[in-house]
């Protein structure tokens, strides 16, 4: 009672002090410290930089529903004078977008609304998108840039390529990827050697280091059962068996054999098989390695396959070479004799399980083999692995890191999972693809771009959906038979190993094309992929050229250029003196080897093409190293005249 007044007084003072502290605390936020030291810093600079007003700064991007307060501390983003300043004041390196248009977190992630270091950089427990580490930065490009190839983001492009190449869509659902063609397994029983198959199932890279088939870490029992199961599939997809092959291939007489091998080697070389195939690592990258093929496939299969690839393996991208029976026999014999795997270790003999078919089928399903390989009506399995459509938005609480010691972050999780699929759980089903660290990083980047974020259409860049070019009629049949699209692009379809043929008839003279089919030569000596000699008949070549004359031509590229000596002479001086074309191209016996030689240009190219190509090469071949010299019309005409005069000299 007596102390009541004292107690009241003391409590009242504490009460007022505490009540004052609470708002007072708000007067000393972390960011003020940074803004003050920013103003101190710029005062020491030789250049004049406007000091910042103390206060929270924010970028509000309404259409992206983002409020980013990063610039409260990152004050020098647009200030070139602060190029070497310490963070958080350093100038932003090359910026591809307007910051007012995109904000910060749409690319960098982190918590834009936050104004404290830890929270803003997303290092708090309840913010799942911490600032993206630099090595995964390109993932953000992929959120809007949906094209396969993003020029400024090589890692993202590589990742997207790898996702397609390794057929991730075989097991996972990933937006924008469909399942890629993988050799179907119909007839595999009469195709491969049983021992090879078991070895391959257990460790594909032992046969070929760059095998795309992953390592499933299969126990012997499963490998044996799957092999026994697959060996029962001996008929082709149309139900027929492999036709018998001539005895001359199976059992050639000794006298004949040497001659045949010699012929086979010649034909194998002439056909330029190694434009697409490699032999023990040397050669093309479009198709499989042939170095050990004779230990892999049966000779019956090889003979029939080369004779008619698509009959034996549906939809395979291999041209049907028009070998004569004799040549074919020689080539097959040569391959059988030459491409033997002398190091192959036969797997231990096993007695087939009486229930091998059933058990093999179970194992076949367990490993989701049909996710990639077609087999009869089993066709493609449903996606059996997690849906990756929005994997970039996965929350930390959705990830099971198991006993792993890696950093608790989504990018690290994905990269580790790609490199060592069993890092988080011993029973994980994902097989090992043997990605290098860079490949895993690239795939991680590409996957992280798959976000569950609604991005307004005006931000999204997507390559126009391409119609699939499938020519009909005689030409169509030939394109299919010769697998032209395996290397060439036509009207947006096909692969760009060789040239895009969509404007071929505007570019090249018909006679030259006719001749080129007969004796294909490489225009660029330094290239490894060369057009194979398909031994086309006269009528086939005519069909191809005629079709091109009608379809692969653009009227806008038709242009006559006056070819006379005065103009040519002027062009010559431009060629050598003004533009220095000889540094890459050969002409008159001198010049570089980077571009194709131009001596016989007039017999190959049309004037209109040369003219427009000179004006802007990138239009016709994006990414070509031929520079765009911004030629005037007159200069372009002069050089065209000079180049087309070459034939006569």
């Amino acid at each position: 009672m007596k102390n009541q007044r004292k107690i009241f007084a003391i409590v009242a003072i504490i009460f007022l002090v505490i009540l004052a502290i609470a708002p007072f605390k708000g007067f000393f936020p972390e960011w003020k410290k940074y803004q003050n030291s920013y103003n101190d810093l710029i005062a020491t600079l030789p250049q004049k930089v406007r000091p910042t007003e103390i206060g929270i700064k924010q970028i509000w991007v309404q259409s992206l529903n983002r409020v980013d307060r990063c610039t409260t501390c990152h004050l020098g983003i647009k200030e070139p004078a602060l190029k070497n300043a310490p963070q958080p004041f350093r100038t932003h390196p090359l910026m591809h977008h307007d910051i007012e248009d995109m904000g910060c977190t749409s690319c960098h992630d982190g918590q834009g609304a936050a104004t404290e270091f830890k929270e803003a950089h997303g290092q708090s427990e309840f913010w799942d998108q911490p600032v993206l580490p630099a090595k995964f930065m390109e993932a953000s490009c992929g959120k809007c840039h949906k094209d396969q190839e993003v020029r400024e983001a090589p890692l993202l492009s590589l990742g997207r390529k790898l996702i397609a190449e390794y057929n991730c869509a075989g097991c996972h659902k990933i937006e924008g990827y469909s399942k890629r063609w993988v050799p179907p397994l119909d007839g595999v029983g009469s195709k491969v050697n049983g021992g090879w198959l078991i070895n391959w199932l257990k460790n594909p890279t032992a046969y070929w280091p760059h095998a795309r088939m992953p390592n499933f870490n299969m126990p012997d029992e499963d490998a044996n059962n799957i092999a026994d199961f697959l060996k029962t599939f001996t008929t082709l997809s149309d139900g027929s068996s492999l036709p018998a092959i001539p005895a001359s291939v199976l059992n050639p007489a000794d006298a004949q054999k040497a001659k045949m091998l010699e012929l086979g080697a010649t034909r194998f070389g002439e056909a330029r098989c190694i434009s697409c195939h490699s032999v023990n690592g040397k050669g093309g990258y479009v198709a499989t390695d042939l170095g050990k093929v004779s230990s892999k496939v049966s000779i019956e299969w090889l003979y029939n396959y080369i004779k008619s690839p698509k009959h034996v393996m549906s939809n395979v991208e291999m041209p049907r070479f028009r070998f004569s029976d004799e040549d074919l026999a020689a080539v097959v014999l040569y391959m059988k004799n030459e491409f033997v795997d002398y190091d192959m270790v036969q797997p231990p003999d096993h007695t087939p399980d009486p229930e091998a078919y059933q058990k093999g089928l179970t194992a076949f399903k367990k490993y989701n083999c049909s996710g990639c390989h077609e087999l009869g009506t089993m066709n493609r399995a449903e996606e059996m692995a997690p849906d990756l459509s929005f994997v970039g938005s996965k929350r930390m609480y959705e990830i099971d890191f198991g006993q792993s010691k890696i950093d608790r972050s989504l990018p690290e999780y994905i990269q580790t999972k790609l490199m060592t699929p069993h890092a988080f759980s011993a029973t994980a089903k994902m097989p090992k693809f043997g990605f290098t660290e860079q490949e895993a990083q690239a795939i991680t980047v590409a996957l992280l771009a798959n976000r569950n974020e609604s991005i307004p259409n005006k931000y999204v860049r997507r390559a126009l959906p391409r119609g699939v070019f499938s020519p009909q009629g005689e030409f169509g049949k030939l394109v299919d038979d010769l697998a032209c699209l395996a290397c060439h692009k036509m009207q947006g379809s096909g692969r760009l190993v060789a040239t895009d043929l969509s404007l071929e008839a505007s570019q090249a003279q018909p006679d030259w094309i006719m001749n080129y089919f007969k004796v294909p030569y490489s225009l660029r000596p330094i290239l490894t992929e060369r057009m194979p000699n398909l031994s086309l008949s006269e009528s086939d070549r005519k069909i191809l050229v005629d079709y091109m004359q009608v379809n692969f031509i653009a009227d806008s590229l038709n242009r006559t250029v006056p070819i006379n000596d005065t103009l040519a002479l002027h062009g010559r001086s431009l060629y050598f003196d003004r533009y220095g074309c000889q540094s890459c191209h050969q002409i008159e016996g001198k010049g570089g080897y980077v571009g194709p030689p131009l001596d016989k240009l007039s017999s190959r190219l049309k004037a209109g093409w040369v003219y427009y190509w000179l004006k802007n090469p990138q239009v016709f071949k994006p990414g070509t190293i031929e520079p765009n010299n911004n030629l005037s019309d007159a200069d372009a005409e002069a050089i065209t005249a000079f180049l087309l005069k070459q034939k006569k000299e």
């Binding site: 609470a22 708002p23 605390k25 708000g26 929270i56 529903n65 409020v67 307060r69 918590q111 609304a113 936050a114 104004t115 404290e116 929270e119 309840f126």
Partner: protein, 238 residues
């Protein structure tokens, strides 16, 4: 007596006297008058038993519950200035409160901790009343009012739990309303449908909880608190 003439003049001025009808509580008469005439003090009797002033008599739990309610009303009103009950804005508003509103985080912390404290203190208050037998006649009805107030306190806390619209809120409310669904004959489903304005916790539920939390339940609590205090006073309490 009056040390300061100015103050003295103020206390005797017409304006002052129109507000405070009693003099300074320096005489027992003025003290008694301040209880009679002051709206806030009239919940108390003029004199209280000395015994009931001992802290161990009530542990001040009832008063603290009322104090917490006052704190919650004040902080809650300030928080309402920055909060929009919509699925797309609610969470962002919480972040803004945390990062840019002056003392926003403090307000929110205060509101949150006071809310938890109020549930606990109200429950303890009930226990105290029980163990001291203070529910016995003639205070039965006031005990019932107290039980209803405890239920209202829990409901206030529960409806406020959803408003931040984070995982904790969403799933806490989902679990709670799923419990209510267990009421048989379809009544539970109807009840939870009524409460959520739908079958799942969504925009409607957020608005309903907001209205309940900021308007209906506080009003009901205030009215019942009035009844509660009044009864305490009439039944001879402090």
């Amino acid at each position: 007596m009056e040390k300061n003439k100015t103050l003295g003049r103020l206390f005797t001025s017409r304006v002052w006297r129109s507000v405070f009808r009693h003099g300074l509580p320096i005489s027992n008469r003025a003290r008694a008058e301040s209880v009679f005439y002051n709206f806030f003090l009239h919940v108390h009797p003029v004199k209280v038993r000395k015994r009931s002033l001992k802290i161990t008599y009530t542990w001040a739990l009832g008063g603290l519950t009322a104090g917490l309610f006052i704190i919650l009303t004040l902080t809650g009103a300030l928080l309402m200035l920055y909060y929009r009950p919509s699925v797309s804005e609610a969470y962002a508003d919480m972040k803004d409160l945390q990062f840019v509103v002056s003392s926003g985080l403090f307000l929110r912390n205060m509101h949150r901790w006071s809310a938890h404290a109020m549930v606990a203190v109200a429950f303890l208050h009930m226990l105290r009343v029980f163990y001291t037998g203070s529910y016995k006649p003639p205070k039965e009805f006031n005990w019932v009012v107290g039980v209803i107030l405890l239920v209202l306190t829990i409901l206030l806390s529960y409806t406020g739990y959803l408003l931040p619209w984070d995982q904790l809120a969403f799933w806490g409310i989902s679990v709670g309303t799923n419990m209510a669904r267990a009421v048989p004959f379809g009544i539970g489903d109807k009840m939870s449908y009524l409460l959520l304005g739908g079958n799942i916790v969504g925009e409607n539920a957020l608005v309903r909880f907001y209205v309940l939390h900021c308007f209906i339940l506080p009003i009901a609590t205030m009215v019942l608190m009035g009844v509660h205090f009044w009864r305490v006073r009439k039944d001879g309490g402090v």
